[in-house]
Assembly symmetry: C2
Homo-oligomer: 335 residues x 2
């Protein structure tokens, strides 16, 4: 009947999951920042700036589907956060923080160290914090939810495009898709260009500064994750408009410029993984757009215009419509 007294002093093997999260991902919240309570409680607490709305987006990346098995963990950590920051950029929102849910087949400390380093380096570059997370055993799966803030009514929504607007795109298109083709053995890239193209695929740059600079200038914006045509179609559908696109005005990536015309056009129009911003703005704002782009050192190109009638017409520089095969990435139709 008399039992031995056992005082539980936070058994360490019992807490290994929590220590795992803590060791690689937890840092104290910045003083005076919007994060009032970070990792380690039931919830994080965030105080958004007064009068601003919270912009929220979530993404899930699965090994073998969104990235190769054995992908470099530093680049993977960067990319997982970058694709979410790209959604904030497309909304004109200022990043505040993010949560990470992570399923791992096993605890590989070298992998975790590199993955968290890649992710947190990008977080530091944007002055944001990892505010909460969950870690479990399972097939390698990474789900991030990102939070930003934007003054009420200033968000760059998909439904704001107006007939007559110019259509713009940032940076360059198609090199990420070309790098993927190279890695899959279906394309060859000059070795001097291959590394830069691979960086476009593995370490995309979210256009956060441009998104912020376009507040009050652009009517609508979206980020190009699934390919320009597919993503632009979302803007057109939600805005109830159409567009004319000049295929010869597309800013084609440096490596892709060395490929044949049909590849250049296909990858620039439907490549995916570009994480550039496609946005519409009134003709009267052309100079404002160029100034905003210069201010954040992000090139922009005018690639077409919004039309009152629905449908997306792709033409060459002479205005001749082109036959384009729609090939936007769909996670269930491409098995």
């Amino acid at each position: 009947m008399v039992s031995t007294c056992v005082v539980i002093r936070y058994n360490h093997s019992m807490l290994s999951e929590f220590e795992l999260i803590a060791r690689y991902f937890t840092r104290p919240p910045a003083k005076d920042g919007p994060v009032r309570l970070g990792v380690g409680d039931d919830c994080a607490l965030v105080a958004p700036p007064a009068g601003e709305e919270l912009a929220i987006s979530t993404d899930m990346l699965v090994e073998g589907r969104h990235f190769f098995a054995g992908a470099d963990p530093y680049q993977l950590g960067h990319k997982c956060l970058a694709v979410n920051l790209s959604d904030l950029a497309a909304m004109g929102a200022r990043p505040l923080g993010f949560t990470l849910a992570l399923a791992l087949p096993s605890v590989d400390e070298a992998w975790l160290a590199a993955f968290s380093a890649g992710m947190l380096a990008l977080a530091d570059a944007h002055h944001i914090e990892l505010i909460g997370g969950d870690t479990t055993k399972g097939p390698l799966t990474i789900s991030i939810t990102v939070f930003g803030s934007v003054p009420a009514a200033m968000a760059l929504r998909r439904d704001g495009a107006q007939a007559g607007d110019d259509l713009w795109v940032s940076g360059s298109l198609g090199d990420a898709r070309l790098a993927l083709a190279m890695l899959q053995g279906t394309a060859k890239i000059d070795s001097t260009l291959a590394e830069a193209a691979e960086l476009r695929l593995h370490r995309p740059t979210p256009r956060v500064a441009l998104g912020l600079a376009l507040r009050g200038i652009a009517h609508a914006a979206i980020d190009i994750s699934d390919g320009l045509m597919g993503d632009l179609a979302h803007v057109l559908k939600r805005s109830g408009v159409g567009a004319n696109l000049n295929a010869d005005a597309l800013p084609v990536g440096t490596a892709l410029q060395q490929q044949v015309l049909v590849t250049r056009r296909a990858y620039a129009l439907n490549g995916g993984d570009d994480y550039e911003l496609c946005f519409s703005a009134p003709v009267s704002q052309r100079e404002a757009v160029r100034t905003a782009a210069l201010d954040c050192a992000t090139p922009v190109a005018r690639i077409g215009s919004i039309t009152a009638e629905s449908g997306l017409v792709v033409s060459d520089a002479s205005g001749q419509p082109l036959s384009i095969f729609a090939d936007s990435f769909d996670h269930f139709s491409h098995s």
Copy 2:
């Protein structure tokens, strides 16, 4: 040189992923609610109540780890959201909305219909909305991020427990763990009690109303997802205190009451999946705690007290310390 003109009119097979999400999970945001823009843009937009902080939590559930392969999809949809709402409850936060990231091995419309119905029924019960999501092909994995709001400095944090506080728990403990043992073939439950025990496992009730009622009354709170002892240990560690726990004061679940003493104690102390609230409150607030619990029709039991010296001592009703094996669920140590 002359190409056929093709006008892309939002090819339907191209958009099937988005339609899939839309069909089962998208509903228009409620008028005058905090959600200003829901599913369908790069980000959702949420306006939290003025002066309140945002409480945010994220969870990931993996098939075969957190739920059985072939689990009932309606119950699964309920449980995935319930475990996240439980984190808001433990913070004293009022639920506002949630995002869903979902990896599915295939598009099974019957499964999706039931899963979304279970999830959205619970969302409706709490007047919250699914504000964004991501769907992809992959091993069945569900990641939810939930958002609530709480007045600044009113959150029930883990680090607020004070020596002398009473220790309380809501509802009852251990029936979920007993149901799991039954399903695994290691325990037998009287058939009249089995169904209710299984409901505790598969359809937990997040104690949201109690969490709200405990604002300004409780010093600290946590929800019991991994077992009372393991979760309480987090509170003690973060608060820099210890606790005495009376094992005979634990509110043992109805089915578990029929089991032998060692099982009753083990499952009540370390069972996991209870989603009850464990909280500390000053002795002077005993009546306030009981009134708060009555007001939201949630039973509470006083199970011990917080001590200045660290460590968790579990005793029986006579004050005799018990030998208890710590067995908090850890996702990596139990493979």
